[in-house]
Symmetry: C2
């Protein structure tokens, strides 16, 4: 269930474009009006509004929004105005600039999309940057396990039918996973682990992780060594395993860390998860998993940790 609330009777794109122009005019911007419109339109409607606005007023709506708004709010609205594939391509490209810190962004885009959606993101990446996501990940990561893992995840076109789980294979690959886990972050078994995580279908991987848990009484993510991880590889691997095993739980965990008071709010992760999922079917399950984990609703956490128009915008996307 998506969380954005589109009104039953939606104004025409021309009416919305006119209302936005009005919000931009005069002394200061009427941010609440901007939120009142854009946070309550789906991707197709937003695209039509932008087309109508440009056609009628001879300027780009996105550029005008960027000049009218500021800070986190501006950035969130800019991302929101992109189509789902472009938005992820832009986020992925930014993440390739500092892959070690931002590897989770790449992992999420590679693992939470269906194979067809991932191809759409990669197509959008071609159009925007005239390069492939693969070559940027490969060229900008230092050689080693982190690069092998991220490259495998973004490259692969996984089978995504749920109908073809091979339990014998799951048992044998759970052993390969165990050998790599026991080995820490060393090179040895990790080539096999990366092969498994990077090529098998998600349904098959869930079966493999299930066999691992049955055998070793803890999840693969929990079994991975903690502590020093200078290359970021183990962090990326843990994210990939969690994101494949249970995406709602994974994203709830990302949101929980992002909104935890002690560490200061992680605006990037918060906005990323909300913007990428607010109009997708999985947002309801993410909110439910968050509530279970955090003993407060996601809206409460967001309201507490953010402020101003940015807060109003995120809360509107969450359906408040």
């Amino acid at each position: 269930m998506a969380t954005i609330a589109v009104p039953r009777v939606v104004p025409s794109p021309a009416e919305d474009a006119a209302a936005l122009l009005k919000a931009f005019q005069g002394w200061g911007t009427d941010e609440q009006a901007v939120i009142g419109i854009l946070a309550h339109r789906d991707a197709t409607q937003r695209e039509q509004i932008a087309l109508e606005y440009e056609h009628k007023y001879g300027e780009s709506l996105v550029q005008r929004l960027q000049s009218e708004l500021t800070g986190d709010f501006e950035r969130a609205v800019y991302h929101w105005m992109l189509g789902p594939a472009e938005r992820q391509a832009v986020m992925a490209n930014a993440a390739t600039e500092c892959l070690q810190e931002e590897c989770a962004v790449i992992v999420e885009i590679a693992c939470a999309n269906s194979s067809a959606e991932l191809v759409a993101v990669k197509k959008a990446y071609h159009a925007l940057y005239r390069r492939s996501l693969e070559e940027d990940v490969a060229a900008r990561a230092t050689a080693g396990n982190l690069r092998s893992l991220l490259l495998a995840l973004v490259s692969t076109y996984r089978y995504d039918g749920a109908d073809s789980v091979d339990m014998e294979l799951a048992r044998s690959e759970a052993k390969a996973v165990h050998e790599a886990v026991r080995d820490g972050g060393g090179a040895g078994g990790h080539e096999e682990l990366i092969r498994v995580v990077g090529t098998r279908s998600k349904a098959q991987l869930r079966a493999t992780f299930g066999c691992f848990k049955d055998e070793h009484r803890r999840s693969v993510a929990k079994a991975l060594p903690r502590g020093t991880d200078p290359t970021g590889y183990l962090r990326a691997l843990r994210a990939a395993v969690r994101c494949v095993a249970d995406p709602s739980k994974y994203f709830a965990k990302v949101l929980r860390s992002a909104t935890r008071e002690s560490a200061g709010t992680d605006e990037d992760s918060l906005a990323r998860v909300v913007l990428l999922h607010a109009e997708k079917d999985d947002m309801g399950a993410i909110c439910a998993a968050f509530l279970k984990r955090a003993s407060c609703t996601l809206e409460q956490a967001v309201a507490k940790e953010t402020s101003g128009d940015y807060r109003s915008f995120l809360l509107a996307l969450l359906g408040s």
Copy 2:
């Protein structure tokens, strides 16, 4: 320019289906009639004939063809009746069964298709085998450079615009290629070489190979060490480099080796190249490159090296 010759006035699918049924009936099969129809219809027309045949006569045309025909001819007609994406998926799947010997099939499918065509092949692979091409290549190849290379080639979604060649990058990556080449088949520099060949756009790679040739006065393919190659890696790498650098010349070379008298005809390679290209625009250029290399036409070579209905069929596909 495709070589198959479709008549100006094409009979209706119903007429073709009836003519095929007639060819199957009576004492023995009228193979010439089968060739006269199927070798002169394009992919869409063949699909319509098969649908019409099944609808009208209550049996699968492909199965009937398989029971009526034999040997190389049967196999070629079977492949021909598949759509272009399915045909390549079937050939790729067979190649994953003996990757070391058949690595060229994987390389060609990965390197000669556009990115969109490769995704179509991988989608067809999912539908046919309920697994991904990536996982079969990864699981069936022994770990090492051959696996890394083949997996990178089939996985990547290359940028395929020709508009974005970075000459500085080409020069620096030509150096990385040179280091790997100097190194032989060892592991060291080959991780970088596989990254370059596996992720960059074909236009960028051609620029890199050009820089290499300017600097070292021979092509990358020629500079790769010859001789013992137990893993098949150098063979696969040479094929990939050649197929990216100049596909027509590469396929002409494959056809030349396949039809050379001394070694006996390599039916698989011959049929593969003819079947995959006869209705594609590049077949004309492949024939021209063959003539230049072999000092006889491809038709002459095929006529000399094959026989019977199989020969008639291949020659019909080549436009004779």
